[in-house]
């Protein structure tokens, strides 16, 4: 029973750590630049999941005040991480836009998206 209780109180953190590891693998291990960007998106979303997970309360509902439910803070979940993550998602999308602009610029200069080819090309042109 102790093992089940420990699992029920920790499994979301475990899954989020697995997602972070998958995103880090995408950024480090993949050679295609677009795959690296997809890995960055996965990493980012796992961090957002961690924040929203920290905001939940047992017995709390959605943070929209309902007059029939009362005004006690224990009945609504914590709204502060939601605000931070709301702005974080929009900043993440504009970050993706700038990264895609850089990617198009790199493709226009080197005609490839593979980072080993780009490194070889740079070394060749500097000699």
């Amino acid at each position: 029973m102790v093992a089940i209780d420990l699992f029920l109180s920790r499994y979301v953190y475990l899954m989020i750590v697995i997602l972070l590891a998958i995103g880090l693998y995408g950024m480090l291990g993949k050679r295609n630049l677009l795959k690296k960007l997809i890995g960055m998106n996965i990493f980012q979303t796992a961090i957002f999941l961690f924040f929203i997970e920290g905001a939940t309360k047992a017995g709390g509902t959605v943070p929209v005040i309902d007059e029939s439910l009362g005004m006690e803070a224990a009945k609504y979940i914590n709204p502060l991480p939601h605000v931070l993550i709301l702005t974080g998602i929009v900043v993440g999308l504009s970050l993706t836009g700038v990264a895609l602009a850089f990617l198009l610029r790199i493709y226009r200069a080197y005609k490839t998206l593979d980072d080993r080819d780009i490194m070889a090309n740079m070394k060749e042109s500097s000699e």
Partner: protein, 145 residues
């Protein structure tokens, strides 16, 4: 890449019917943000989706005169300006920065004035997000016009 319009009458009819409803829903989301899920970010994104859908199915040759790409930067700047003015105008009346309680609208009172200030700021955020997203889309597509 998307210079010509899409060659299917079903897609054209459905998209042209869908776009006004997307824009209406975006306005509803912005103005109903006080009482339910929604607000400036979501409404701005939905407005940007409607313009991007129009560019995708009509092609840039027809869709660019309908909403010129030069206007997007102006929309983003005007949104940011609305937000900045909502912050600076209370300073002229002796309050601190972004204190909506002393905006110069004398026919509404304390808490309602703050709600009105939140609405003004949400409209600014919506215009800013809308302009910026359409701007990014135009610049990414615009390589092979």
């Amino acid at each position: 890449m998307i210079k010509q319009h899409y060659q299917s009458i079903i897609v054209q009819t459905i998209c042209s019917l869908l776009i006004p409803f997307i824009q209406l829903f975006a306005l509803y989301v912005i103005f109903h943000g006080h009482y339910g899920p929604g607000g400036g970010f979501q409404g701005g994104v939905l407005l940007a989706v409607s313009i991007i859908l129009q560019r995708l199915y009509l092609g840039t040759k027809i869709a660019h005169p309908k909403f010129p790409p030069k206007l997007t930067m102006a929309f983003a700047a005007v949104g940011l300006l609305i937000y900045g003015l909502a912050g600076i105008i209370p300073m002229a009346y002796g309050a601190s920065f972004l204190d909506y309680g002393s905006l110069p609208l004398f026919w509404v009172h304390d808490a309602e004035l703050r709600a009105l200030g939140i609405l003004i700021v949400e409209i600014g955020i919506g215009l800013g997000v809308f302009g910026t997203l359409v701007l990014i889309f135009d610049n990414l597509v615009g390589e092979r016009w």
